[in-house]
Amino acid sequence: MDFSNFLLMGQEIGLIVVFLLLFSYDIIGSEQSKNRWFHLIACIEFAILTIWGFVSPLPAGEAFGGMFVTSDLTVLMKNILNIATLIVFLQAYSWLNKENPVRRSEFFTITLVTLLGMYLMISAGNFMMLYIGMETASLPMACLAAFNKHKEKSAEAGVKYVLISALSSGIMLFGLSFLYGALGSFYFSDLTLNVVGEPLTILGFVFFLGGLGFKLSLVPFHLWTADVYEGAPTNVTAYLSVVSKGAAAFALIFVLYKVFGGIEVVWQHILWWLSVITITLGNLFAIRQTDIKRFFAFSSISQAGYILLGIIAGNAQGMEATVYFIFVYLFSNLAAFAVISAVEHASKGNTSIAAFNGLYNNNPKLALLMTFAVFSLGGIPPFAGFFSKFLIFMAAGSVGQYLLVFIALLNTVISLFYYLLIVKAMFIKKGESDAVAHFSSDIYNRISMLICLLGIFATGILWGVFSEQYF
């Protein structure tokens, strides 16, 4: 084996270095110094990793006989995940320091391990690699969901997540075994030529898609989403809804385009229906929620449906649109979660939508940021969400899926209805006696909000620059 293969894994190695540094600091450092410096150091190290991913010219190629593939696109995808993770780290400050100062470092190390798993999913050139990456990402994720172990709901979320990921892994492996049986290989490059519309292959594909569907929380594999999102600590929910979902979507793109590109006709039908029911049901259920985290769980389900809309195109335009969509979604959704976690801490753990009543009177800046975030999620100009949704629709339109575009557009109207409910709560409803008083959030969370705010505006209006840079 040639050790130069490892050079291709620059980002993974960087991640492991950060992980080891934090881990050793956790062991060596005194309690006092950790209380003061750990969060700052963790964020700085991770920020350096993120920036390094953007500025350093990372080589493209295959390593380990095609097991591991890296290209400009995978680098970009990992960078996107990095930004999101960095924002989540920044947001976690007050939660970790007030509720879990002892296990602060665990949060960072475990999160970094899940991130490593997601890197591997994206860079997989082989189904086994994809599977290992998925497992590496899933199991620690259950620990994160159960992080507030003294809270019943959090523990419940952890158990649910473990059970569901076990089930989905089982389903996925079952499908993979069919594929192996039919085609005799796990390497993407071998499979590409051999995939034809044989029943066994299609069966394998369907099971595989089901397994990945759990991660993306597509309807009908979405049942765990609301419970886990509600029970898990808010910052973990943010991580789940953006990073975990984004990684699954990226992996799905590669598998669909690389391996199953030949049977586009088959999966386009499946995805068509999946995306229609995902968007519609996600929206309809979101309307009825009274808890803000459950609300965003269903909103993120319907957003996953839009992601499928881009994937369905099956061409380069669809791929660009999907990546861009997730990039924008990251800022919008994390901006919302920044406000949610700030309000949650100020109101002593109240996560009902009623906690937002009259927010504008007491905390106008937070209310404005939340408004921008939900408008961006709902696809209103001049926020970035409008541009990314437009690109998604254009991608679906490029293969003549006008009906699908229309259904999705009608759904944006429904989604606007419930996003406006939040806006209404913040601006129009007068806060009762339990309204959140004026407070100022910690400096870390403020930085995360600033990043999100810049993202919501800049990624939209400067989309032309973005496209020239990366596609």
Binding site: Q317, E320, F375, I380, P381, P382, F386, F390, L391, F393, M394, G397, S398, G400, Y402, V405, F406, L409, L410, T412, V413, L416, F417, L420, V423, K424, F427, I428, W463, G464, S467, E468, F471
Partner: protein, 494 residues
């Protein structure tokens, strides 16, 4: 910089300065300065436009410029104006200007004017765009501030109305966007530029067949097309004064303008084949809106239904597909925009003093506030089409143009639509008679004051514009009609 881009830059600057402003005085200064700048800009544009047109009479659009925005899809920020857009820009700047004076004393003025500026930004951007994407973007920018403007500063069932209005209009834009995606991919060469699609490309009829209804309906919802007009009465009744003015006066015109510029202009075959369906719907709008106005008792509802009727007439005239009727349609947009804004300004004035809009609870206001009452009478007369005021010019042109279609179907519809003039007279005179004349209904009203200076500015400005258009219709129709020629030629050429 292109003079047209200034129409977008000025509202943006106003927003920035508003953010930095403190105190009512600064806010008012910023708003009045900005709006005056827009007014001056619009006047300058008219002069420059006439000059430029004399130099190059064949150009379809003037002051065209384009900046590539998103290369892979050929999306550009492209601007350009013809006579129709110039007229609409003038209308918008007049109403934005007068609207500020009608909302002189607002609670939370800073936020209010921020959303107000965003709304005007969308409106101006829409009228100058000739790129489908940019146009659609500005269209949506104009829609969203409505929710907060009505929901926060409105009256009555404001939350319900705000939500209804926003969702119905967004539903319309769903139709519109699918139409735009369709136009982009079926016109042959991936292009978003209106002029390029209209002049060089052709959308096959089998696609026009679904894109035309989608875009027409999409814009039609904003133009209060029956049966999608129901947002309009609720929305206008609940909105604060200036927002009703801007919405009925300008935003509803976005619908008519869009039908014209996108639906008819790009898909002439489908307009010929399928126009009759929408013609029937607009015919219903015209008559039904007028009848509904007769039975209302709330002043704002009366005016909102009358807007449904008058805006229905705009779409009706557009679908007649000939030069005269289309010229009339644009004149009607202008005329209705001015007079409905005047109406809403005066209703806001009256409501601010009497605290009721129910016509049964008012009477004899002419004795109490003569200035406002006289203005109301003038607005009413313009609305029912008295010669010398703008309504007459517009409606006359529309009906003459409509009757030029010689087949029975069009003629019957024209006659039916003509009836609306009579019904308009009924509800206008009924209202005027009830609230302005007769005995004073409520003795508390006797102590009310007449219009304050800022309300007078708003009313007089609008009356001057209405009278100018009524007395000198040729200036306006000259600007408009030359720009309609290419559209009519395109319709005739198939």
């Amino acid at each position: 910089m292109n003079i047209l881009s200034l129409f977008v830059v000025v509202p943006v600057l106003m927003i920035v300065f508003l953010f930095l402003s403190k105190g009512m005085k600064q806010i008012r200064t910023i708003m009045v300065t900005g709006a005056s700048a827009l007014l001056v800009l619009a006047a300058t544009l008219v002069v420059l436009f006439l000059k430029e047109r004399a130099v190059s009479p064949d150009a379809e659009m003037l002051f065209v410029s384009s900046i590539t925005w998103f290369k892979p899809l050929n999306i550009a920020y492209s601007v350009g104006v013809d006579g129709i857009s110039v007229v609409m820009l003038v209308l918008s700047s007049i109403i934005v200007f007068t609207g500020i004076f009608s909302s002189w004393n607002m609670d939370m003025a800073k936020e209010y004017f921020l959303w107000y500026c965003l709304l005007s930004l969308g409106v101006f951007g829409f009228f100058i765009s000739i790129d489908l994407f940019t146009m659609f973007m500005f269209y949506e920018i104009a829609l969203i501030p409505m929710y907060l403007l009505i929901g926060l500063w409105g009256t009555g069932r404001k939350e319900y109305s705000a939500m209804k209005l926003t969702l119905m209009l967004m539903g319309g834009s769903a139709f519109l966007l699918v139409g735009i995606v369709g136009i982009y991919y079926t016109s042959g060469q991936a292009s978003m530029n209106l002029l390029e699609i209209a002049n060089n490309l052709h959308i096959p009829y089998e696609h026009q067949r679904w894109i035309f209804p989608a875009t027409f309906l999409g814009f039609g919802v904003l133009g209060a097309l029956f049966p999608f007009h129901t947002w309009s009465p609720d929305g206008h009744a609940s909105a604060p004064t200036a927002v009703s003015m801007l919405h009925a006066g300008v935003l509803m015109k976005l619908g008519g303008y869009g039908c014209f510029r996108v639906a008819i202009y790009l898909m002439p075959e489908a307009a010929h084949e399928l126009g009759w369906i929408f013609l029937i719907l607009t015919g219903i709008s015209v008559v039904y809106g007028a009848f509904s106005a007769v039975v209302q008792t709330d002043l704002k509802y009366i005016n909102a239904y009358s807007s449904v009727s008058h805006c229905g007439l705009v779409l009706f005239a557009i679908l007649m597909l000939n030069q005269t009727a289309m010229t009339g349609a644009v004149m009607q947009m202008l005329s209705h925009g001015l007079m409905t804004a005047l109406f809403f300004a005066l209703i806001g004035l009256i409501y601010g003093r009497t605290h009721t809009r129910d016509i049964r609870e008012m009477g004899g206001l002419m004795k109490i506030m003569p200035f406002a009452s006289v203005c109301y009478v003038i607005a009413g007369l313009a609305s029912l089409g008295l010669p010398g005021l703008s309504g007459f010019v517009a409606e006359m042109t529309i009906f003459v143009g409509s009757f030029q279609n010689t087949d029975t179907f069009h003629r019957v519809l024209t006659i039916v639509a003509c009836c609306s003039i009579v019904i308009t007279a009924v509800y206008i005179l009924r209202t005027v008679g009830k609230i302005l004349y007769g005995p004073v209904q409520d003795e508390h009203h006797l102590h009310l004051t007449d219009a304050a200076w800022y309300e007078k500015v708003s009313a007089v400005g609008l009356i001057l514009a209405i009278a100018a258009m009524g007395m000198l219709p040729f200036g306006v129709s000259d600007i408009i009609s030359k720009s309609i020629v290419p559209i009519v030629e395109k319709l005739a050429g198939i």
